[in-house]
């Protein structure tokens, strides 16, 4: 009351103290980010064992789905080399003579709905079977070749309906004992892979939830331990973003380091598996090689870890901040 005059002299000074230029605010924003990041690291290093344990748990949760996806990608890549979806194998009657078989195969060549005809006669078939099956002794003891001649044909029209129609037509031919559409089992395999893929996606979602909960809970404890600081800062006019920032950094740090650890786990398991897989594929005369997560996969893993960490931190801190809103 007594200082009315004094107050009217000073409002200018009062106003100056509260105005910061945009440039100041930007610089402070960067400055604060730097301080907060350093603070986070310091907190981490102050409890290295606890931090490491949390990261390892997160890494396992992130590595498992990534590993399964990598395996699935490898299997899919293996089956993709089998582009025989329009192949029909014709098993001929065993009582046909060699010349009958050849003329039949030549007649097939004239058909407009086939693009390739490949004859594997009974002798050749037996030879190949001996070579790959390892049953050569047993087969040698047989007096007569049990294998029929086989003609593989590739259909021009690859649609399922026309393939099945063609198979019926070929089956109806008198020389053919059985006409097998190879599509069937590839279809089955692909269906199985699809089921597997869905299962892996479901598992991944569950594990992503686990990662969210682990990081969220760690941050919640962190928030609780800094409760007083947050309350005081809020009363002094800290924005929610300002309060949130250190915790978001912690969440990101957890997510990113766990992703890197998960990536290491996967790459190391693949290195361990590489040699046995190579030996196995050599036995099958294949040059199949395992492929790891790769650049894009690794980046994706990193992004998933980062966003899960960020999201978990955001949810945890906001839950606390919402309690502080005036009612």
């Amino acid at each position: 009351m007594s200082d009315f005059r004094a107050s009217s002299e000073h409002p200018k000074r009062g106003a100056e103290q509260h105005v910061l230029t945009k440039q100041d605010q930007r610089r402070h924003w960067f400055q604060h980010h730097g301080e907060v990041a350093k603070d986070c690291l310091r907190q981490w290093l102050s409890a290295p064992t606890a931090t490491l344990m949390t990261i390892l748990v997160l890494a396992v949760a992130l590595a498992l789905p990534s590993f399964l996806f990598t395996s699935l990608a490898n299997i899919t890549r293996l089956t993709a080399s089998w582009d025989d979806e329009n192949k029909i194998s014709l098993y001929l009657h065993t009582d046909l003579s060699q010349s009958q078989i050849e003329s039949f195969s030549q007649r097939l060549l004239l058909r407009a709905d086939l693009i390739a005809v490949d004859l594997v006669d009974a002798e050749q078939g037996l030879l190949e079977f001996k070579q790959y099956s390892g049953f050569s002794d047993v087969l040698d003891s047989l007096q007569q070749n049990p294998l029929p001649a086989v003609i593989s044909v590739l259909a021009k029209d690859t649609s399922e309906q026309s393939l099945e129609k063609l198979q019926q037509q070929l089956y109806a031919l008198p020389q053919v004992e059985q006409a097998v559409l190879d599509l069937q089992w590839i279809k089955r395999l692909n269906a199985m892979l699809l089921v597997l893929q869905r299962a892996i996606i479901a598992l991944s979602l569950l594990l992503a939830c686990a990662v969210l909960l682990i990081i969220g809970n760690t941050i919640r404890l962190n928030v609780e331990s800094r409760r007083d600081e947050i309350l005081v800062a809020k009363l002094m006019g800290a924005t929610n973003a300002w309060v949130r920032r250190p915790f978001l950094y912690t969440g990101i740090f957890y997510g990113v380091t766990a992703s890197i650890a998960a990536w290491l786990i996967i790459e190391m398991s693949l290195i361990v598996m590489q040699n046995p897989v190579l030996q196995l594929s050599l036995l099958y005369q294949s040059n199949f090689k395992l492929i790891g997560l790769g650049g894009i996969g690794g980046l994706l893993l990193l992004l998933v870890g980062l966003s899960l960490g960020l999201l978990a931190a955001f949810i945890s801190v906001n839950k606390f901040l919402n309690q502080l809103e005036p009612k």
Binding site: H10, H28, V232, A233
Partner: protein, 219 residues
């Protein structure tokens, strides 16, 4: 600067903390708010800080009505107010300097400028040599003065104090009051909630008296 118009605050469960309170404090005034504990002093301060919202009536601070302020506006509203708490609310995980610099960091001051202001505030409360200590090792009176330095370091337009002398002996209380008077002299509006009637009488300032949530006296 602070204007209450028929303000009531009812908490969940029907408890009425204050009822129909109207008063107005001009810029640069120093005013005491008194009454028994439970009379609604803290509620008035919380309403000014927007820690609580009024159930009815309107509050204007610095000419701005508080009712329409959303959660995005609250921080900027609070930055023009400095608060001194009865239990000082200092953070014991950091030094005196880091405690006082907090409001400046929140407001976004440059680090060098902030350090200068912190030392100026410490000088004003006479504790310049305590800068590097942890507030835990200070006496109650010193802790309270650190709390005051923190409340005024960003030169707020309004200074609120909730029982600032509650834990202090008469001599220290008088010192704290002298500090408030000094800030008031440079233009800060000061509102002190206290039930220490002797002290208030000595200060010879305008006094609002609350009784069971109602304003019964304004002299």
């Amino acid at each position: 600067m602070i204007a209450f118009e028929q303000v009531s605050k009812e908490y969940q469960g029907g408890y009425k903390a204050i009822q129909d309170v109207s008063f107005s404090i001009s810029p640069g005034e120093m005013v005491f708010l008194t009454g028994h504990s439970g009379a609604g002093k803290s509620t008035v301060l919380k309403l000014i800080m927007l820690m609580e919202r009024a159930s009815s009536g309107s509050i204007a601070i610095g000419g701005k009505n508080l009712a329409p302020m959303g959660s995005g506006d609250i921080p900027f509203h609070r930055r023009q107010i400095g608060v001194v708490f009865q239990n000082h609310q200092l953070l014991f995980d950091r030094s005196v300097f880091d405690n006082i610099v907090l409001p400046l960091r929140i407001c976004g001051y440059d680090a060098v400028d902030a350090a200068r202001r912190v030392r100026a505030a410490l000088d004003k409360v006479g504790l310049l040599d305590r800068e590097k200590l942890n507030p835990r090792v200070l006496s109650t009176g010193e802790q309270q003065r650190i709390g005051i330095a923190r409340a005024i370091v960003h030169k707020p337009k309004i200074l609120l104090a909730d029982e600032p002398t509650g834990n202090l002996d008469p001599q220290l209380s008088a010192e704290v009051m002298t500090l408030f008077q000094q800030f008031n002299r440079i233009g800060t509006t000061v509102l002190v909630a206290s039930h220490d009637l002797n002290l208030i009488r000595r200060m010879n300032c305008r006094t609002l008296t609350l009784q069971q949530g109602r304003l019964v006296d304004d002299v």
